[in-house]
Amino acid sequence: EPEVTQTPSHQVTQMGQEVILRCVPISNHLYFYWYRQILGQKVEFLVSFYNNEISEKSEIFDDQFSVERPDGSNFTLKIRSTKLEDSAMYFCASSDLRVTNEKLFFGSGTQLSVL
């Protein structure tokens, strides 16, 4: 089965540093998402992206966050100046909303630790 791939699997950074998390969605999918999960908590929506623009974002997704699809395959999440509370597992996901029984496929995640 096709899968969403994410790199790196772990990222350690100092507070105030910029990080870029990378994702390769499933190739024929058109909708892309970032979610995060703080340890022991539920999964939270950050942003959705379609047709090269943000289609929806949550209140968590403030000016410190940005997303980009720099080429035909990658989808990135940038955090400009990391804070301690940004430490979480970040999941990329993709879907094909043209399919009635569409599923959201999640990548294996990037564990971000901000020190």
Binding site: Y33, Y35, K42, V43, F45, F91, K103, L104, F106, S108
Partner: protein, 113 residues
Amino acid sequence: ELKVEQNPLFLSMQEGKNYTIYCNYSTTSDRLYWYRQDPGKSLESLFVLLSNGAVKQEGRLMASLDTKARLSTLHITAAVHDLSATYFCAVRGGGGSNYKLTFGKGTLLTVNP
């Protein structure tokens, strides 16, 4: 704002027993998802439920949806140890959203021999 409530949050079962996890949500939605998560791993899609009365089964797991009651259930039949994981329900939409999934807090299932 769409709220999704799961219960129980923790479930310890004996192998061979049956049990049900419940997922209530607060506003109308056009689809409901069930996911499984093993520790430190990603979310594995189990079921997508689209319409009232929908029932789907895969192995020992069966999911159903009652859109009028805004309730979905995940029924576990004759549990085995391999089913130990955290199970999340997630609801799409609500509050004008088209794309966002709102997740429940998850049910940590432990199946004991």
